[in-house]
């Protein structure tokens, strides 16, 4: 745990979050063949430590922005689980009334900015939100910040570089977090990057960077805590590259190790190092069981809520085209 051993409260909170995300997504995968979930799903299973480590370092009134692979970030930031499940089912009680599905989750009350299915699009929007936060005029050290999550593929979009430059120039209170899972759909980094020196590229914009290779949730958390402290002090953006691994297929509930673009051998070290399992082992068994039970109950309630919720009324098709 590389010298980042957490206090008992943090340990329990982090484990609960990891467990909730993992089990929610496993349930989504279990339900998926029933066709009740009317949405493509991009599961984060295996990648949870990034969302949990970073979001645990955020305040409730901070914002977080993520991608279509956003279940983990949504839940880690405290997004409403019932509304998320109902949204996946396409029900009227979903966070966006059934207009978002899995790919556009949103919960502004919990600080979850809306997610996007167009790669890279939320990067400048997160920066824009941070731009507005900077103007709230809070004392140094007490300002709000935005954490923006995106994948390794998104860093290839021009808007990523444009946004880094703008954010650094204006010292925006934003923490950029790249979840580098090594693939864009099935395309490996070697097809896409001339060098893997992503942090070096980012540093040329004058942005401090942190590269974390082992996905250790407490290292990620500690790094985020320190970075966020500097950001709140007005020092401008920081960048984290968190290496991680997607255990399931790019989109959909299953595995794809027989699909000829990666092997199960590649997965093995990541699975041995699984954040949920390792943090669970650090907890006392009774406490862990109590958390697990509670998590199962919350998920069961969310599924029941989604199942029992009504469909949106037909006229909802025409609501929210324009804001009043």
């Amino acid at each position: 745990m590389s010298g980042n051993t957490p206090d008992p409260e943090t340990l329990a909170r982090v484990y609960r979050s990891l467990r909730l995300i993992r089990r929610t997504e496993e349930e989504i995968a279990r339900l998926y063949p029933s066709d009740k979930i009317k949405s493509p799903v991009h599961l984060s299973i295996g990648q949870e430590s990034v969302s949990v480590g970073v979001c645990d370092a955020l305040n409730d009134d901070d914002m977080m922005s993520a991608t279509y692979r956003g279940h983990a970030a949504y839940l880690a930031k405290g997004g409403d689980l019932n509304q998320m499940m109902a949204e996946l089912y396409g029900k009227g009680t979903g966070g966006a009334g059934g207009k978002a599905g899995s790919m556009h989750l949103v919960d502004m009350k919990a600080g979850v900015l809306g997610m996007s299915a167009v790669v890279g699009t939320t990067i400048p929007i997160a920066a824009g939100y941070a731009f507005a936060m900077k103007r709230e005029g809070r004392p140094s050290g007490e300002g709000r910040i935005t954490a923006g999550f995106f994948g390794d593929g998104a860093t290839e979009e021009g808007v990523f570089s444009e946004t880094l430059n703008f954010a650094a120039l204006h010292k925006l209170p934003i923490l950029f977090v790249c979840e580098n899972n090594g693939f864009a759909i099935h395309s490996p980094l070697s097809n896409r990057w001339a060098t893997e020196a992503l942090c070096e590229r980012v540093r040329t914009y004058g942005i401090p960077t942190h590269e974390i290779d082992d996905a250790d949730v407490f290292t990620i958390r500690r790094t985020a805590v320190d970075a966020i402290q500097a950001i709140r002090a007005g020092e401008g953006p920081q960048f984290m590259e968190c290496k991680t691994y997607r255990w399931r297929e790019h989109v959909g509930p299953g595995e794809d190790y027989d699909d000829d673009y990666r092997t199960r051998d590649e997965l093995a070290p990541w699975q041995e190092n699984d954040a949920m399992a390792t943090t669970g082992e650090m907890l006392d068994a009774a406490e862990r069981d109590a958390i697990d039970k509670d998590v199962e109950q919350r998920i069961a309630e969310a599924i029941a809520f989604a199942e029992q919720s009504p469909w949106p009324e037909p006229e909802e098709l025409f609501s929210h085209v324009y804001a009043d």
Binding site: V106, P124, A127, G128, A130, A132, R135, H320, V321, Y322
Partner: protein, 356 residues
């Protein structure tokens, strides 16, 4: 009939001055309003439309940007979601093509896709260029692309009064508004009240009454239509001229009612005709017609890229003469074709000497 003239105001102001005044007043009223865009703070101040704002409001509210239209659009959207009211300025409409992803995939969608949890009160100002060699990439009128997408509003005021009122309304609107300006309108003047006011979107103006044909002029083509109306009067044809002002929402009622009375509808767009605003207006009017649909026509840019040399450029655009000739043929289909013997270039256009 409404006119852009407010009798309470005798003060005449240019289109440039009207835009500038609208922004200054809204910035005074609402600290969340800010101007962002390439060169908005320099000594030229976007042809004067942002001049003086930097000195008054400072760099936090009148911000120059890196050459990053895509990101700056997204940043403006994010700031808008956080409750600010950005005005993102582009010296040419052509540059909006670098913003399409953010405008169409994010700004237009956010309120709907996020179930009403966010709003995007964003104004995107853009200027269509013409003449003095603007050419292929500084002359495009791309408004129809934005009209196509639910969630966006599109306005194209053609006089100083509407410029101020529409820009004020756009800034106060809780939706993304594509604000279409035309460079050759900048020097035109109209009576403009000093106090802030809004011009409601979705209301067309009948700017000249007539009985034989309805001419709808979009953006700068409204000016050409008004001149064509004078030329047509010389041969006894009475043209009604309508300025749609706002293209999305579009006031089909006013145009359809007029076309129903005159029996002829000619839409002249400051853009290409294919899949354009003119196509939409003609189709919407015909769809409403019960029984007698009007005779319809569309004019716009030649179906080519805009050339720079004036010898070719003059035939790229419709003008008062070609509009009048086309209208004559629609109203008097049996007659020998007629074309007015008039100077095709309007005086303020002739006075325009680039570079931009």
């Amino acid at each position: 009939m409404s006119t852009p003239t407010d009798p309470s105001s005798q003060r005449s102001l240019s289109y440039v001055g009207a835009l500038n005044e609208a922004v200054e007043q809204e910035m005074d009223l609402d600290p969340g309003v800010f101007v962002i865009g390439l060169n908005v703070d320099d000594h030229k101040g976007i042809q004067g439309t942002t001049q003086g704002l930097f000195d008054k409001f400072g760099p936090d509210r009148v911000m120059d940007t890196p050459l990053s239209e895509d990101a700056v659009t997204g940043i403006s959207i994010g700031a808008a979601m956080a409750g600010m009211r950005p005005i993102h300025v582009h010296i040419r409409m052509d540059f909006l093509l670098l913003c399409m992803n953010q405008l169409i995939n994010m700004a237009a969608k956010a309120h709907y896709m996020y179930g009403g949890q966010t709003k995007v009160p964003l104004v995107v100002r853009s200027i269509i260029g013409k003449s003095w060699g603007q050419g292929a990439q500084h002359s495009q009128g791309l408004h129809s692309m934005f009209m196509h997408v639910p969630g966006l509003k599109v306005v194209a005021p053609t006089n100083a009064y509407d410029a101020k009122g529409c820009l004020t309304a756009a800034i106060r609107d809780n939706n993304p508004v594509i604000f279409v300006e035309h460079r050759l309108l900048y020097s035109t003047e109209a009576p403009v009240p000093e106090a802030p006011y809004t011009v409601e979107f979705g209301k067309a103006r009948v700017v000249g009454q007539g009985t034989d044909i309805t001419l709808v002029g979009i953006s700068y083509m409204l000016v050409e239509c008004l001149r064509a109306r004078e030329l047509l009067a010389e041969v006894g044809i009475s043209a009604e001229v309508i300025d749609p002002v706002s293209l999305m929402p579009l006031d089909v009622d006013t145009i359809a009612a007029s076309a129903g009375r005159t029996g002829n509808l000619l839409v002249v767009d400051n853009a290409w005709t294919v899949a354009g605003a003119g196509s939409e207006i003609v189709a919407a009017v015909c769809e409403r017609a019960t029984g007698n649909a009007p005779v319809v026509g569309r004019m716009g840019y030649a179906p080519t890229t805009c050339p720079t040399t004036p010898v070719l450029e003059k035939d790229f655009y419709p003008n008062a003469t070609t509009i009048a000739a086309r209208a004559f043929a629609m109203v008097r289909p049996g007659d020998k074709p007629w074309s007015p013997d008039a100077e095709p270039t309007l005086p303020h256009e002739a006075a325009f000497k680039g570079p931009f």
